[in-house]
Amino acid sequence: MEKRPGVFSGKVGLTFLTPALFFVAIFLILPFFWIFYLSFTNRTLTGVTAANPQFVGLENYQRLFDFDQWMRYGQFGNALKITFQFVLGSALLGQAVVGLTVAWAFYRRKGLLRETVFTLAVLAWIIPEVVVAFAWSAFLDVDRGTLNTILSAVGLGQPDWLFDYPLLTIIIFNTWRGSAFSILLFSSALETIPPSYVETADVVGASAWRKFRDIIFPLMRGHILTDLILITLWTFNVFTPFLLTGGGPTFRTELVSIYTYRTAFKFFEFGRGGAIAVVMMLINFMLAMGYLIALRRQKAVS
């Protein structure tokens, strides 16, 4: 939109902006720099280092990347590995594939069925995380849970889901919870494809797979990229599995976010927690940059 000086001059604009910028600066920008500072100190909650934190240089980072230790249970490397598997399973293989499949299945369809499915997906996504976690832990309960009751009724085994397959369970849980975003995004992307393209393919008798591969996918590439980056970012930061497993059993579901929480708010080692937070932010920053670049490129195309 064109902006003319005079009627809409700059200084008035800034006064409109001040309250918002003030809040963002105090509560988000200040902490952002503070955490960098903290990560170079040995600040704790209690004891001598609480009142007079010492500057310890890179010690926190060295402990984080101590390669003799770091793949052990409850160490940073292990948490990174688990987070990687979690993101791969839940965001890329789970949410993106489910989203694309459902969106494609309901492409050019209207009616009650589509409404029902979309509504349910959105419901799973918008329900408060504590409620979802509670409902799921009851669903997965080994003796009285709904899932195992179903399985025993048809004569199948009844594993203790949160103990035998903790990572798989939180991957499925997070896929269930997060798929709505991909479904909505992909189906709105599909709507932007001119129907005549697909109809032409129908007339020549192209199979669904060929239509998808040769028409839909190339046209949706930008949206797929946006979706992948955003869900990767969210899945990377997600804290909800903590409510299901608490990071256990024996750290087998300890994602980086849970690891940070444990270091900073269970052991109250803010210096070390800060170092993990900085590493986490760097990873986030790279993903977010990817997203913004993709967004800009998409805008340039359209």
């Binding site: 800034l14 902490p31 509504t119 329900i127 048809v154 930061n237 986030n284």
Partner: protein, 440 residues
Amino acid sequence: MFGIDIPLPDFWVVYFFIFWVLVGSTAAPVVFRHKGHHPLIGIVVGAAVGALSGIAFTLLLAALQPLADLLDDPLASILVSIVVSAAIILALLAFVRRFVPESGGAGPRAVEAAGGPRAPVTYSARVDKVDPGWQSVQALRASVVIMLAGLTLIPVIWMAMTAFKSYPDAVASPPKVVFDPTLEGIVTLMTKRRNLDSAQIAEYEARDDLNWADRIMLKSGKAIIGQSDYVKRLRNSLIIAGTSTVLSVSMGLLAAYAFSRFRVPGEGDLLFFILSTRMLPPVVVTIPIFLMYRELGLYDTHLGLIALYTAFNLSFSVWLLKGFIDEIPKEYEEAALVDGYTRLQAFRRIVMPEAVTGIAATTVFCFIFAWNEYAFALMLTTDKARTAPPHIPSMIGSGVVEWAAIAAGSLFFLIPVVIVTFALRKYLLRGVTFGAIRQG
């Protein structure tokens, strides 16, 4: 309450039969209609074949049990059963397609056989609209999707049911599907109680100043002695979410207006900067905020959480509202300014009414975020300002687990979110992508 006490057959076996009957009766009619029969026949035959498939499924599963035992992994046996059901569905479809005879009716193929269309062609000529294989796959897909969707809803349905169960019903094993609904769980959630001995119960029963809640608790031999913590937490949630929503939307509206209408130095950078704050992981922000709040005395206060939620939601409301305001033609305001409105008047009389849907949508998203938020509230509050989300899991850890009460608490916590989401689902996608994607 309704005195329902019918012994049911094993619920899940019934459920599976419903599934198979549904699959049969949705996929088969398409084929029948195509071959010139009445689709009703298809529904009946499909249902019958579906019921047979259900039996076949159960038997096959039993036959494959040794195989699953051999694998010695419950997960493998579940996978096997999925493969088996897929195979049965395909066999069922092939069977119906192959063995249903053509009829002399008015199906598409019958019309063609009679030497061209005698009546106007009312069916689509597209390949995917007339091929019965394609159509039955579509119908099948629909029923499978519905059943899967139903399955995924089980946790939530279970929760809604448990909220209205009495304590013995809630802990019954196997879980009760049919039960006497009661408000016991809700009353338990909202109150503190003490146990009564039999003499006291008799005394209480004689009194006539009891309200409905007292009577419900009296049935299980308890007297209400006060409000529970949950009421306090819920009130905190309301205050904090409400105030922070109002703040972030009003400040966001001003900022969005400025970004949309004024020449702001470094506009692109500022916008990016505001957006980037949303990319910060909550755990990361919490550490310095925690230290800062302890210094400032904001730890465990309403003000602290309100300020934090406001700041976190600002990025969101600025971006979303900017998109909405951009859509209002600027000429409206310019005309108003020429007519002698002050800028504030123009903003209030012209921009606000035009942007009202956008404001409503933004309000809802900010409210949902603040209402649902768990991690900040867990780490930055203990008691005074603690909201409902961190409180609900802690109820599980304390003493006798009142499943019904927890379920009721979760349910009531969830209802406002669901209502507002449905009211504004049109704007949902636009909301979460910060206005980057418009329809959905």
